[in-house]
């Protein structure tokens, strides 16, 4: 059932057991928490006194997630997106280029020495 890895072993069933036990402990702790907390008005977000927009309007769209990450790596992305031109000639050029590198690495040393 368990998997022998190079450094040890991996047993998903032991992991599952540990997960269930941890979950139960967490659930019990949660159950012991404060029961007097208020609901309703107090749960609404405070946006400097402004009224909250509709849930649909304030939902962060897929394209904006990780904006900070992509912004900090914009120099890399400038190059990476330029590399993906969508032009077939470039695709073929990359292929020929890699084949040429293979040629240089594998054959040329043997020819020289």
């Amino acid at each position: 059932m368990s998997l022998d890895t190079f450094g040890g072993f991996w047993s998903p069933l032991v992991w599952l057991l540990a997960f269930i036990v941890t979950f139960l402990i967490g659930y019990i702790l949660w159950g012991l928490g404060e029961k007097q907390h208020k609901t309703g008005e107090q749960l609404k977000p405070f946006i400097s006194g402004l009224a909250e927009g509709s849930k649909e309007d304030v939902h962060v769209k897929g394209g904006n997630i990780y904006w900070g990450f992509t912004e900090s790596l914009k120099e890399y992305y400038k190059y990476a997106t330029k590399m993906h031109t969508g032009i077939l000639n470039d695709y073929i050029l990359w292929f020929i280029g890699i084949a040429a590198i293979f040629f240089m690495v594998v054959i040329i040393p043997g020819v020289i020495w």
């Binding site: 897929g62 990780y66 292929f95």
Partner: protein
């Protein structure tokens, strides 16, 4: 009866879908229901034969099927020094790959019954079966020329299916790019085959391996050139970066089940690459250099795949880039295995790396395949691929979102699913070569988690959007095919030791043992 089936199973596995593919357009004219039943029968028959053959290969070892010979199990006719007939060779690695392809075709077919409707459906299934034939042929053929032929069958049928739905013309553009790139790769394979034929007068892979590995004084320049052409072509077809650009284009535009089937197609090319490296050339070529090249290709694929996936807003292109990264893991593991082969005897961690790599081939097809099926269902229901225009679908597509979550956990390599089992083998084995490789691989998995959390959040979470208020759950057959894949993934994840012992290790042993491959074909030479 069973014995006869087992004897002729190799050719029947290819012939059954091929025959039905050509009959199908006629049946389509008569009855649509009959057409669906026939195509289902062909795929189920193939799958059953594959399972029977798998048991036989695991119990009795490698099996040869010679077409047109007096004895189907003998590749070398009496009086001949080299095999001259078309030979199918099925060892544990071939049958492992064939099992993947036939299983995926079955799941893809169920999905397509619900997904593909209207005019041209008959042609869709004909092409679907031809695609299956191409894959199975590539994985079972014993000679290089037929490898080229099956690669062409796979490429042409795939190209036609990518543009099955024309939708504003983008699928046609993707299809043209795919067929040109595939033709170029196939041309290089044909050229390499010609070079090897000119050099050794041989096309049979076992006989070629015998000649190449028994050469004294090193490989000839032409043999090395042929190797480079084969390596570059199959790396291109496997979707390795930086030759991967065609892959997100094609995966992104194909219908859902075909995107999944294309993943299995790229793995067939990866299989061909493994055959060339390990079986034909083995240590006759400088395995440390080639292993190093494969490791570099793997790292570049992982890095470019995950970073480019992060900025995509088209849901299927995003998964396409993630698939590039997943292929990178396989290249990384196989590269370490091949690098280790240069030392003469494969070390324990070289073997573990190969086990991880081969196991990951199956997991990649399952994980990425499931994600393509779910996103295909989302697109089918919403007609939308832009992540910015999707949201809140977990409220109306509960089961689909659950299946996506399973795919997410698996592809990100989180325990306890199958992706983790193969990745932990890779992490630990490549650590021995360089801890840096492991760090990069683990970091990329974290990126992968971030990428799929992004999709899950933007497609399924959040408030119900007014533009998607009337969306309902995907059809039952689509859900059933997702459930089958999810079930297999959970099983692989919970019992990885069983899968590695019974499926992966025999395949790895067959991969590294080219002596048995050669002697079985050459009749004990």
């Amino acid at each position: 009866m069973i014995e006869t089936l087992v004897t002729h199973a190799p050719i029947l596995i290819i012939a059954a879908p091929l025959l039905v593919a050509f009959i199908l357009p006629l049946i389509d004219k008569v009855s649509k229901k009959g057409r669906n039943i026939l195509v289902l029968c062909a795929v189920v028959f193939t799958l059953v034969l594959v399972i029977i053959l798998y048991q036989d290969v695991i119990e009795n070892g490698m099996r040869i099927y010679t077409l047109g010979g007096e004895n189907a199990h003998v590749a070398l006719p009496s009086g001949y020094h080299v095999p001259v007939r078309i030979t199918l060779v099925i060892d544990a690695l071939s049958i492992f790959m064939v099992l993947i392809s036939s299983l995926i075709s079955f799941v893809g077919l169920l999905y397509s019954f619900a997904h593909v409707k209207g005019e041209g459906t008959g042609k869709f299934y004909t092409l679907f079966l031809l695609m299956l034939v191409g894959m199975l042929g590539m994985e079972m053929t014993g000679d290089l020329f037929n490898l080229f032929v099956f690669l062409e069958i796979l490429s042409i049928s795939s190209a036609a299916l990518i543009s099955f739905y024309i939708r504003k013309g983008q699928p046609i553009e993707a299809s043209i790019k795919f067929i040109i790139i595939s033709s170029l790769a196939a041309l290089f394979v044909l050229f390499a085959t010609g070079l090897l034929y000119g050099e050794y007068n041989l096309l049979n892979m076992g006989a070629l391996a015998n000649e190449i590995n028994s050469q004294t004084g090193g490989l000839t320049l032409l043999s090395q050139l042929a190797f480079i052409l084969l390596l570059a072509s199959f790396a291109l077809k496997a979707g390795s970066a930086p030759m991967h650009m065609w892959l997100p284009d094609s995966y992104g535009e194909a219908p859902g089940a075909i995107s999944m089937f294309l993943v299995a197609g790229t793995q067939a090319s990866l299989y061909a690459l493994l055959r060339v490296c390990f079986t034909i050339y083995n240590t006759a070529i400088d395995a440390s250099i080639i292993g190093g090249l494969l490791i570099i290709l793997g790292l570049v694929s992982i890095f470019i795949g995950v970073t480019m996936a992060l900025i995509q807003i088209d849901i299927k292109r995003l998964i396409g880039y993630a698939a590039v990264a997943e292929v990178g893991y396989i290249f990384l593991a196989v590269g370490v295995g091949f690098f280790e082969l240069a030392q003469g005897e494969l070390s324990a961690y070289g073997l573990k790396a190969l086990q991880g790599g081969i196991f990951h081939i199956f997991n990649d097809v399952l994980d990425i395949g499931l994600l393509f099926l779910v996103t295909g269902a989302v697109i089918y229901m919403t007609k939308e691929t832009n992540l910015n225009k999707l949201g809140g679908l977990a409220r109306s597509m509960k089961y689909s979102s659950f299946f996506f979550l399973i795919g997410l956990v698996a592809v990100a390599g989180l325990p306890p699913l199958n992706g983790f089992a193969s990745k932990i083998l890779i992490y630990e084995a490549i650590y021995k070569v360089s801890p840096l490789l492991s760090i990069i691989a683990i970091l990329a998995s974290i990126f992968m988690l971030a990428i799929f959390v992004k999709i899950f959040y933007s497609v399924f979470m959040g408030p119900k959007l007014s533009s998607l208020s009337d969306i309902s759950e995907a059809p039952k057959l689509m859900l059933a095919s997702m459930a089958i894949l999810s079930g297999i993934m959970i099983f692989f994840g919970l019992f990885p030791g069983y899968i590695v012992d019974n499926l992966v290790t025999p395949a790895v042993n067959a991969l590294v043992d080219n002596f048995t491959y050669i002697t079985t074909i050459m009749g004990g030479i």
